[in-house]
Amino acid sequence: MIRSIEFYIDMIFVTAKVWILDLLSRFLPDWMVVFASIVISSVVILCLGPVIMMYLTLLERKLIGRIQNRYGPNRVGKWGLLQPIADGIKMFTKEDIVPANADKIVHLLAPIVIVVPALMVFLVVPFGERMTAVNLNIGLLYFIAVSSVTVLPIFMGSWASRNKYSLLGGMRTAAQMISYEIPMTLAVVPAIMMSQSLSTNTIVLAQVGDYDLHWFIFTPWGIVGFIVFFLCATAECNRPPFDLPEAESELVAGFHTEYSGMKFALFYMAEYMNTFTLCGIAATLFLGGWQGPFLPSWLWFFGKTFVLICVMIWFRGTFPRFRVDHLMGFAWKFLLPLTLVNILLTALWQFTSDLEAWFWSILVLGISLWILVKLNRTFVPEKRKYLLVD
């Protein structure tokens, strides 16, 4: 009995959709029902994305506020819960300024195009048991491919603005995103190797175990992969401390310097939706996705994702911005070799028994980390001696 109630709560959204489709099939022809099935899923995603983005801004401002000993927004509604709506209204009513020399069409297109990949990646995110919008068998590859397109609209926006800050920001974004895409993709490989599938759903199912706690993060290669993936995800959505593309103190606002009103809001929206989906994928790959004891699956998924988002916000509240050469060096000289070692570790894990595998992986990891740290030691110039002091 208890099991069935749990199951019912677990399946509540799936059941709702089936129920609606069932209702529709009594009045509408077959093809309309198929169409409605597509429309329901896409409408849910199209609403979910912006709503999540709106409340992420609120969450971020609240947490950052607490970290800096302030209350965050708390005026509009209880605990500032209506603040995102007020912000939305503000954005809508703001004047839209297009620079005189700008490439008008591309300038208009860029913010529209940037939202498309951000929304499209929602398709393969498994929100819960049987709650993946499209269960592609190349889900993960699709995710990586679509999110790599994000560079293009950023280029468009930065180039079309005819502004040196925009251009510099765009160049930085492209350099950073391309660099971090490589360790991110390689960090995913161990999870693919162990689950032998590219489908996000199958990867989650590969992490079933006692009490649903057989997550990939509880293995040596899993934790390394997760940390690398998470750092790269932070860099991919240009969040601090990897926020060089929009470094306020140097570049005004980077690639969206010349954007205002709703166009700016779209850039912002894409950034936050990317944050959500990247955290969701990180949870799917290494934290067991919607797996978890007692609670309904979708609650587990959103819980894990929001914990990861909170960690990203925590990063933002803690770290100062990277220097450009450090940023590149970190991706190419540290993360990339580490992911390669990690792939090796996964193979080792596959072909050795449990205890032995732990021993070997910790040994290999320790040695490689030690070597990487030694090789990556930052150049510290010798202390100058001032002759005239004293």
Partner: protein, 228 residues
């Protein structure tokens, strides 16, 4: 011992601690020290001084000011305007008929309080002057006159007239108790002294404020010692 990446964790611990303690620590212990202004306010300290106001004793008719005009002369930005009241015979009545202070001009120096020999003008604690709608500042006639001229009305907005400036001695005692009690004692002493020495020329005026004799008792520059 320095492990690679240890500083990162140390930094994150600091912010985590700050985040957690912001929920239960008191402001002076390192918690949130924001004062939610319209609902909460900081306690105004006694010596806080903003715009000047006029003190009356029991009723607004018993105004301390005698329209001597010293403050008007001393005011650096010249924001005070006083006209003395005259009775039907045209004799000056030693009461202000008009007492306007332009808060828009006033620079809150407190010079008027310093120079007033009659302890009648003091600096107020009220600072939310702009929050008051313009129309309430204007008396009816002014409002009628300037109904059409919005800009003129705006200019008038921060000019406080006598009715608005008058505040009771009780209020004064409330906001600046130390100074108010010192002045009350001084005034009481002066009055008793005046009663002890019978007036040479009685001019039958009832109030101690308006009589020339009482003026004599208080004419010395008032020692408005600010309470510490």
């Amino acid at each position: 011992m320095t492990v690679f990446g240890w500083g990162v964790f140390k930094g994150m611990l600091v912010t985590l601690k700050n985040f957690a303690t912001s929920y239960f620590r008191k402001p002076d212990e390192g918690g949130i020290f924001t004062v939610q202004y319209p609902e909460e306010r900081e306690k105004t300290i006694e010596n806080f001084r903003n715009f000047p106001f006029l003190v009356y004793d029991e009723t607004p008719e018993k105004i301390r000011c005698v329209a001597c005009g010293i403050c008007e002369r001393e005011c650096p930005p010249k924001c005070i305007h006083i006209e003395m009241e005259t009775d039907t015979a045209g004799k000056p009545a030693r009461r202000p008929a008009v007492f306007d202070i332009d808060y828009g001009l006033c620079m809150n120096c407190g010079m008027c309080e310093e120079v007033c020999p009659f302890d009648s003008i003091f600096m107020d604690h009220a600072f939310e002057v702009t929050a008051v709608p313009i129309s309430t500042n204007l008396n009816k006639t002014v409002l009628d006159q300037k109904k059409t001229k919005v800009s003129a009305e705006r200019a008038e907005g921060l000019v406080r007239h006598k009715e608005k400036l008058l505040k009771s001695n009780e209020y004064f005692r409330e906001i600046r108790p130390a100074l108010a009690s010192a002045i009350d004692q001084k005034r009481k002493a002066a009055e008793e002294k005046k009663r002890a020495i019978p007036p040479l020329r009685h001019n039958a005026s009832d109030g101690p404020v308006l009589g020339r004799e009482s003026t004599g008792g208080q004419a010395q520059p008032s020692a408005t010692q600010e309470p510490k």
